[in-house]
């Protein structure tokens, strides 16, 4: 097997397609599952940040301070360090530190705070008048959240989750390098360590394609729901 030189990157007959398919599935699975969890946690956290800012009550101020601090801390820890830090928690939570499932806690914990900030910004950007109008109509806080805040900021929420998901795809590859499975794992073990450049190349191409697909889907959804 010729594993030197430029041409070696394109000798795709050296690729084990079953393994590649399996790894692709793992990457997509990690991305989609963590994306869903990040969307849920991010919206909840963003909502807490939004609802507790500018409040006069002491309780709200404390909640805002604590959540903002946690969000800022977890947003600033580099992902690769976060994985290592979370190893014990991961072991306890999912019962293993290997494979795609083990990557989930760190993926979610690193991306949810980032998305929470985007959610808060999206809510802040809403015209305050619309919220006032709903209040004047006798809406409860919860009705304002479900009928005004979320639907009215939906394009920003979707483009935010698109951006977040794309960085999640990058994180899955990084997580793969330390044993979480997926395309990153394959590129590292079967590509780099086994000196099979074609595998590395193919894994890269597939990751790029996945990123493009998510970006395309995100843009399409925003275009469809944005009626402004």
């Amino acid at each position: 097997m010729n594993n030197n030189g430029f041409a070696s990157f394109f000798e795709f007959n050296n690729v084990d397609w079953t393994k590649m398919g399996q790894a692709t599935w793992e990457t997509v699975w990690m991305t989609v599952v963590s994306m869903i969890a990040v969307a849920i946690f991010g919206i909840i956290l963003g909502l807490i940040l939004f609802e507790t800012q500018n409040s006069n009550s002491i309780g709200a101020k404390i909640i805002n301070w604590v959540v903002a601090a946690l969000v800022n801390i977890f947003r600033s820890i580099p992902f690769i360090i976060l994985i290592v830090l979370l190893l014990p928690a991961t072991q306890a939570l999912v019962g293993t530190i290997m494979g795609p499932r083990a990557a989930l806690p760190s993926l979610i914990i690193s991306a949810a705070p980032f998305y929470a900030r985007l959610v808060q910004i999206a809510f802040d950007d809403l015209d305050h008048g619309v919220i006032e109008a709903a209040k004047a109509m006798g809406a409860t806080r919860w009705q304002i959240v479900t009928k005004v805040l979320i639907p009215e900021s939906s394009p920003a929420l979707v483009s935010g989750i698109t951006v977040t998901t794309i960085s999640l795809i990058g994180y899955t590859a990084m997580a793969g390098a330390i044993g979480a499975g997926g395309l990153g794992n394959l590129a590292y073990l079967d590509g780099f360590q086994a000196s099979n450049n074609a595998v590395t190349m193919m894994a890269t191409i597939i990751i790029v394609v996945i990123v493009f697909i998510f970006q395309f889907l995100g843009d399409a959804v925003v275009k469809k729901i944005d009626k402004r």
Binding site: D127, G129, A134, M137, G138, K147, P151, E152, K227, R228
Partner: protein, 350 residues
């Protein structure tokens, strides 16, 4: 009935406290259109927002239909708000919803009826405001006037007793403004709704209001029936508002013309006539010319406006006579007085 009793409101702003409302007392009777006019920052929004509890008075009380709004909280406040519709300068529609869904929105909030009943009610209201055919359109596809019609339909969804309008026509062009104002009067008549309108445009007051209060720096400096206030404004600020509406050109333009005429006709007199009510419909001026044939008249400026209670108008004329026959002029002026037209002889500026 809406009643403000000794209401004051102080905001604690960044640069110390701001007294936005000072000792306001006012009563709005049922079924009336009550206007509050004032310049920017006078406290109009603060005042109107107390009626549905978006603001609370620092001292004093606001009572709506016997209920002290300023004391209500939580569910009771929300319940009361269902009966008070509000429309806004920037419409504040939900852009993610169609026209129909926007009008259904307050019904979803009040949890009134099932989906079908809500749809039916919304369709009726859309018809009432003249937007049939636009049910499926999104707000971004509508003109300003159409958006405000949606705003009005939405405000009426829960069959309120009161409609609050915070500068609802300020973002609209004059023609659209008049259309929306006509709609408000129509609703007031048809549904017997009490309407409180705040504006900085005297035009709005003149066109639709029964009663007007002038708000200046948080205080009501003058109030009364619209026609009275237009006829006999007392305060300087009220005069300025009334002039804004009754002189077609700017006041300066008129002064220039008057000065020129005074110069070229040193013998003539320039008279400002003010008509109101039915006088505006009578041929008073032509009758005057018939009775005093030696007088010549030229019109400098004039206008006439409709209010809810009748017409009001002013006319600047210049009277000159052949042979310097001053008696004829005096006779003409006396005639006008007997017809109860207010006359004011304007002299050269000193």
């Amino acid at each position: 009935m809406i009643r403000f009793k000794d209401v004051s409101k102080t905001y604690t702003g960044k640069e110390g406290p701001v007294k936005a409302i000072k000792d306001v007392n006012l009563t709005v009777s049922d079924g009336k259109i009550y206007g509050i006019v004032g310049y920017s920052g006078a406290g109009k929004s603060t005042l109107i927002r107390m009626i549905n509890g978006l603001e609370t008075p620092t001292t004093g009380s606001v009572t709506v239909n016997g209920q002290e709004i300023s004391q209500l909280k939580g569910e009771a406040l929300r319940e009361a708000r269902l009966k008070i519709g509000m429309i806004f300068q920037h419409f504040d529609l939900l852009w993610s919803r169609t026209v129909l869904e926007n009008v259904e929105f307050p019904l979803e909030i009040s949890k009134k009826g099932n989906k079908e009943e809500r749809r039916k009610k919304a369709e009726e209201l859309i018809k009432l405001v003249g937007l049939q055919g636009k049910e499926k359109a999104y707000p971004s596809e509508l003109s300003g006037g159409q958006k405000q019609r949606v705003g009005i339909a939405r405000a009426l969804a829960n069959d309120p007793k009161i409609l609050l309008s915070d500068e609802a026509t300020s973002a609209l062009d004059p023609k659209t403004t008049d259309e929306v104002l006509d709609l408000l009067v129509d609703i007031n008549r048809r549904l017997g709704l009490t309407i409180v309108v705040i504006t900085h445009e005297m035009h709005v007051i003149r066109k639709i209001c029964d009663h007007v209060a002038v708000l200046d720096a948080g205080t009501i400096v003058e109030d009364g029936p619209v026609l009275d206030v237009f006829k006999h404004p007392q305060q300087a600020i009220t005069k300025r508002f009334v002039n804004q509406e009754t002189s077609t050109g700017s006041a300066d333009d008129t002064q220039v013309v008057v000065d020129q005429l005074l110069e070229s006709h040193p013998n003539g007199v320039i008279v400002k006539l003010t008509f109101h009510g039915d006088q505006a419909k009578l041929p008073i001026v032509s009758e005057m010319l018939r009775q005093f044939p030696d007088t010549n008249m030229s019109i400098i400026e004039g206008n006439i406006h409709q209010t809810q209670e009748g017409s009001i108008g002013s006319l600047y004329i210049q009277l000159t006579v052949e042979n310097d026959n001053q008696e004829q002029i005096q006779g003409a002026l006396d005639y006008l007085k007997t017809m109860r037209v207010e006359t004011e002889v304007i002299n050269r500026e000193q």
